[in-house]
Structure formats: structure tokens, C-alpha cells
């Protein structure tokens, strides 16, 4: 497991004035499910395209499966599967036709293709809709078809770009079951997402923002960094409390979640609850240390921009209210 499926050094991509990816270092071990977590426009798609050899990096070095990219991209193409963010199969072909077409493109033999297609139709519960036009399928069915096609030629490395946007939580869980099956069979999977529940399932995570890698590690390690920095406040007039909390220099973010206010404090804050109790000066509030969630990790990693002044940072991307474990940081 020490072997690296992907390694990148100082990888950058510029589109005119826009720097989409800026000096990203990546080390992705073989056999893992590795997640890219980041808001819209953070460079996830651009990064994946560079790793597939579809975009030429403006700077940096990439090796994927031991191949120099983009120079050896053509060799790499036989070994990878790519599920694009936008559904990219043919709407006006049926499920079976799409699969047959892609099997031919990948150079599968006639017999081999037929067997493989049957197997995949079965595995991804598409058998009953083999004659359905891809354009007439639901979001979840389409994603299953796209995954089936991406794995047609049994690639050793899979790139999945936001594979579960437009999929309900139930189907998303099923989808991830399939990913774990693939991973158990030895496939390395790189998946981008903005869902926290998906990020939690990855073996390792990279948190991206405006083209920068903000944080990286196993979900557990990332959570451990945040220990003792999340405080939950219960009480009345939480909106005003939030206003006041956000004005405190050590507070990084505050978000109301139902009847509680969740406050994230900056790194290096000693006794977070004590600090808040001392500064909020409100006896009716109940404060308690809380278990950090990945969402806190995300907020802590992304809103801590070094170049931003303290106050505007504090009020920056406050996570949506009524958050459950599966909402989008959009």
C-alpha cells in the first residue's frame, strides 16, 4: 500500500488571468478512495482533468500509475476510467447501446464486451432498463450507467468528478457501497465532492479552495486537529449571541443549528468554552465542548485565508443553517 497511484508536485493551471489550480502537491496511495472536497470553482475538475492528461498543466509535475503526464497520457488512457461531472454519454442511445459503443471504443472483443456488459448491467441494477434511452433516465440511474461505463474496461484507477450530484441520500449510500466494492477489488478511486457525508467515507481527503490545497489527511486526523475548538451554545436570542461571538478575535465562525449555536475557534485557543464564557458575558447561556464534524474541518480549513483581514474572515462562508450531515457547501 506504500506504492503511489498518483503523485503531483507544485501542480498549477492558469486560464488567462484565472489561476484554477495553484501549486498543489498530491500523494495518493494505490488502493485508496481519495476525496477532493471543495466548494464550486475550487479547481476540483481542473485538477482531475490534469491528472487524466486532458489538460496540460501550466506548471509542476505529475506521475500517474508510474507514467509521466501529459507526455504518456495515451498509455494511461487504457488504465483509467473517468466519470465526468456532466453526464457525457449519448442521450439518444439506449443504455445497452451506450455500453456497447464504449466497449468497442475501449477495444473489448465482441464476446468479451457482451459478457462484461451483462455483468455490469446486473451489478448496477440496470438490467431492466437496457432499452431505455440514456436521456430518459433519472439522475441516479444515469450516474449508475456512467459508473458502469467508466468501469467497463476494468481500470485500475477511477476518476469520479462529483458522481453523486443529483442523487438522493439513499441512492448515494448504495453508490458508495459500489465504490467500496471496487476499492476492495484493488481499484484506486479519486472522487470529488461537496458532500460532507461522502468526504467522511474517504480513506483520505484533500480540502481545496480557490485552487489551493488547504488541508490533507485521513478524516480522523483532520478531526483530531480540531479537538477542543468547537463549542455549542444553547440559550435564548442566539442570533444576537452569534453577532457578538463573531466580533471576538478568536472566533473563526459561528453558525446556528436548530436550537444551538455552533462556534468554531481559531487554532491555539486554550479552553475554548472558558474563553467564550468570559467574553460573551451572558449567564443564561449553556456552553459545552462539542465533537468536531468534517464540516467544521472544512470551515476551519477554508475560511482561514492568510491574506484576509480578521473580521471579514469571521463572517465569511457561514455554513447554511439547519445543516444535517449531508448538505452542500455550495
Amino acid at each position: 500500500m506504500t506504492e503511489l497511484a498518483i503523485s503531483a508536485r507544485a501542480l498549477s493551471k492558469r486560464f488567462g488571468d484565472v489561476i484554477a489550480v495553484d501549486g498543489v502537491d498530491l500523494q495518493i496511495p494505490t488502493g485508496q478512495i481519495y476525496g477532493f472536497l471543495g466548494p464550486n470553482g475550487s479547481g476540483k475538475t481542473t485538477l482531475i482533468r490534469m491528472l487524466c492528461g486532458l489538460l496540460t498543466p501550466s506548471g509542476g509535475e505529475v506521475r500517474v500509475l508510474g507514467l509521466e503526464i501529459p507526455a504518456q497520457a495515451e498509455t494511461l488512457r487504457r488504465k483509467i476510467g473517468y466519470m465526468t461531472q456532466k453526464f457525457s454519454l449519448y442521450d439518444d442511445l439506449t443504455v445497452a447501446e451506450n455500453m456497447q459503443f464504449m466497449a468497442r471504443v475501449h477495444g473489448l472483443s465482441h464476446r468479451g464486451a457482451a459478457l462484461r456488459i451483462e455483468e455490469l448491467l446486473e451489478r448496477y441494477a440496470l438490467s431492466s432498463m437496457r432499452q431505455r434511452f440514456a436521456g430518459a433516465m433519472s439522475g441516479g440511474q444515469r450516474q449508475r450507467l456512467a459508473l458502469a461505463v467508466a468501469t467497463l474496461h476494468a481500470p485500475t484507477l477511477l476518476f469520479l468528478d462529483e458522481p453523486t450530484s443529483a442523487v438522493d441520500p439513499e441512492n448515494r449510500r448504495d453508490f458508495w457501497e459500489k465504490l467500496f466494492d471496487l476499492s476492495d477489488a484493488g481499484t484506486t478511486i479519486l472522487v470529488s465532492t461537496h458532500y460532507m457525508d461522502e468526504a467522511e467515507r474517504c480513506h483520505q481527503l484533500a480540502i481545496l479552495e480557490t485552487g489551493h490545497m488547504r488541508n490533507q489527511g485521513t478524516p480522523q486526523a483532520l478531526l483530531a486537529q480540531l479537538q477542543d475548538r468547537v463549542v455549542e451554545i444553547a440559550g435564548d436570542h442566539l442570533r444576537q449571541v452569534k453577532e457578538r461571538a463573531l466580533r471576538l478575535p478568536q472566533v473563526q465562525s459561528a453558525a446556528q443549528q436548530g436550537v444551538r449555536l455552533r462556534v468554531l475557534l481559531r487554532a491555539g485557543t486554550e479552553d475554548a468554552a472558558g474563553y467564550l464564557r468570559a467574553h460573551l458575558e451572558d449567564r443564561d447561556l449553556k456552553l459545552s465542548n462539542a465533537q468536531p464534524s468534517l464540516e467544521d474541518v472544512f470551515v476551519a480549513s477554508t475560511s482561514g485565508g492568510k491574506h484576509l483581514p480578521v473580521h471579514s474572515v469571521a463572517s465569511a462562508p457561514s455554513p447554511p443553517r439547519n445543516s444535517s450531515s449531508c448538505h452542500a457547501i455550495a
Binding site: 486532458l54 501529459p70 495515451e74 473517468y82 442521450d91 471504443v105 475501449h106
Partner: protein, 342 residues
């Protein structure tokens, strides 16, 4: 772009298009070998209506040249030319490819031209009273313009539709996102290009069958040739248009741009190819431009095969040109097509 293109086209077409037909390529067959024949030939030449490009020994050879499209007409002088001249009879016979009515009208205008003959012949014997020449109109004796237009239309319609089909093909896939997936597979650019092209060959065959079929049924345009020859000239033209469309598809980034490129190309194909105005009447520079267009070559081919019953073998240069054009366009398109999103 918005100013330059209309300006360029205005100048080009304004300069190139003329309905006054001149310099029609013809052959002369002189069976008399006389000085009188040479004198008449010279007088025909100075009218500038014709350009004498070939001399043949026999009328049969001249007819073959007309069928092959090498010349539009042949002027045949009889053995007993001096005798006929003295008797005031027509001094020669014009064999005319009548398919293009504009060309045949110009040649018919020569029928009664006044001739000034040498020694012994009364000057002015050939005035309006009796025609100087006999004229035999081949292929379209009734001088109906449909005869020429219907086969020519195939060139225009095929250019318009086929070029457009492939011009938008790759661009549409790029816009729909299909291409991003396709180029992540081991597919080779040439495979992709040929794959895009082949299905439309059948579309082209269906189109040409409909146009020519209806042309015969509705407009009574006689089909003089063989189906095999028709196929031999049509397939290279279909391929030429499709490969040009593919090149457009690699140049354009949106479907709109692909369409604009196609239309930019359409106008000269209609105006300069010989479809509306005779090729021979255009100035040299315009002819050079016309030579580049597949429609010009196909115009010659389809009229040759369909109206004059020519064999593909007689029209080989135009067929080879279309095949070469296809190969070059396909090569450039393939080379331009990168399996990347840069």
C-alpha cells in the same frame, strides 16, 4: 470579421460574375486543310466568344472531347469547303454541348456572323440572308435550362447539407460534453474522424438519389449515363464535403461558428462553381478560386456523367482532385484534432 467578409465577397463576386459569355473552349476540325478554313477560324477567334484550345483530325475525336468536357463545342470544316463557300452554302458545322443554355446561346450567336472570304468569293455573300454555319445542339436540343440546373443543384444541395452535418458534429459533442469522455479513451483521432464521416456518406447517397430521381420525374431531365459512373463521381464529392465539414468542426468552438464557416464557404460554391454562371466566362483569378471548390469539380463531373453520358475514366482529373481534397482535409482535421481540452 463583420466588415471584412461582406467586403471581400462583394468585391470578389462583383468582379467575377458576368453573364456575358466569352472564351468558351472549343476545338477545330479542319477536313479541308485550306486557306479559307484558316481565314474563317481566325475570324471566329477574333470574336472572343470562343477560345480555340484544341485541334482534332476527325469529328469523332471532337465529339469525344465534348462528351469528356474538354471543349464545349467543335467547329468542323468539310472537305469541299471551297466549293460550298463559292456556292454560298454554310461553310462549317458547329457541334455544341447544349446543356448550358447560356453557353449554347453565345455559340448560336455565331451562326449568322458575317464572314469575309478570300479570292473568288463575293464579299458579303455571308450576310444575314443565309447562316454562315450549321449548328447541331447536343444533349439539350430544346434548350431547356432545367437540364443544366437540376444536376448542378445536386452539387449545391450536397455541399450545403453534408458540410453542415459534419461541421457541427464534433462541436456538438464538445458542447454536450461527450467529447470529454471520448478523448479519455484509447480512441485514435483518425478513427474518430472516419467514424464521424462514414454514416453521412449514406445520407449523401440518399439525397442525390432523391434529387436526380425527382429531376427525371418532374423536370424530365434525361439521364444519359450509367449508374456506376454516377457513383464513381458522387462518392468522392460526398467524401470531400464531409471531410471539409470535419475540418470546420475542428476550427470552430461553437455550433454557431461551425455554421458560419459553412455558409461562408457556400456562397462561392453557388456563384463561382459554374452552377449559376458559366465557369468559362469568369476572369482568370475567379477561376483559380473556383478550382479550389469541390463543387466546381463536381459540377463538371455530374453534368458530364448525367447529361453527356461520359465515363468516369474520361473525367479522371476531377475525380482525383476530389479524392486528393478529401485526403488533405481529413489529414488536416485529424492533425488539428487534439485529444485534450486545452
Amino acid at each position: 470579421m463583420i466588415v471584412m467578409i461582406p467586403l471581400m465577397q462583394l468585391l470578389l463576386f462583383g468582379y467575377a460574375i458576368t453573364t456575358v459569355v466569352r472564351n468558351i473552349p472549343i476545338a477545330v476540325v479542319d477536313n479541308s486543310g485550306s486557306a479559307v478554313a484558316r481565314a474563317i477560324t481566325e475570324q471566329v477567334r477574333v470574336t472572343q466568344v470562343v477560345d480555340i484550345t484544341h485541334y482534332y483530325a476527325t469529328a469523332v475525336e471532337a465529339e469525344r472531347a465534348i462528351v469528356a468536357g474538354t471543349v464545349r463545342a467543335a467547329l468542323i470544316f468539310p472537305e469541299n469547303l471551297a466549293q460550298r463557300a463559292a456556292g454560298g452554302e454554310p461553310v462549317g458545322q458547329w457541334l455544341v454541348d447544349g446543356s448550358d443554355t447560356m453557353v449554347s446561346a453565345a455559340l448560336l450567336g455565331l451562326r449568322s456572323m458575317p464572314l469575309h472570304l478570300e479570292a473568288g468569293v463575293p464579299a458579303g455573300a455571308y450576310q444575314a440572308a443565309s447562316p454562315s454555319f450549321e449548328v447541331a445542339l447536343f444533349f439539350n436540343p430544346e434548350r431547356r435550362s432545367e437540364v443544366n440546373i437540376v444536376p448542378g443543384l445536386t452539387a449545391i444541395i450536397l455541399t450545403m447539407t453534408l458540410t453542415l452535418f459534419t461541421a457541427v458534429s464534433l462541436v456538438r459533442e464538445r458542447e454536450h460534453g461527450n467529447l470529454e469522455l471520448l478523448i479519455t479513451t484509447p480512441i485514435r483521432p483518425l478513427e474518430l474522424m472516419v467514424g464521424k464521416l462514414v454514416p453521412y456518406i449514406f445520407v449523401g447517397i440518399i439525397q442525390i438519389t432523391i434529387i436526380l430521381g425527382l429531376g427525371q420525374l418532374v423536370f424530365n431531365v434525361p439521364f444519359q449515363g450509367k449508374l456506376l459512373n454516377l457513383a464513381a463521381v458522387t462518392l468522392p464529392f460526398i467524401a470531400a464535403n464531409l471531410s471539409l465539414g470535419l475540418l470546420f468542426s475542428t476550427l470552430a468552438t461553437t455550433q454557431m461558428q461551425a455554421m458560419q464557416l459553412t455558409f461562408f464557404f457556400m456562397l462561392p460554391s453557388i456563384l463561382l462553381s459554374g452552377f449559376m454562371f458559366p465557369y468559362d466566362a469568369m476572369p482568370q483569378a475567379a477561376q483559380y478560386i473556383a478550382e479550389v471548390l469541390p463543387a466546381t469539380h463536381f459540377m463538371r463531373l455530374i453534368r458530364g456523367v448525367f447529361l453527356r453520358g461520359a465515363h468516369a475514366g474520361q473525367l479522371l482529373p476531377d475525380i482525383l482532385w476530389l479524392l486528393g481534397f478529401t485526403a488533405v482535409m481529413l489529414a488536416i482535421a485529424t492533425k488539428r484534432f487534439r485529444k485534450s481540452l486545452d
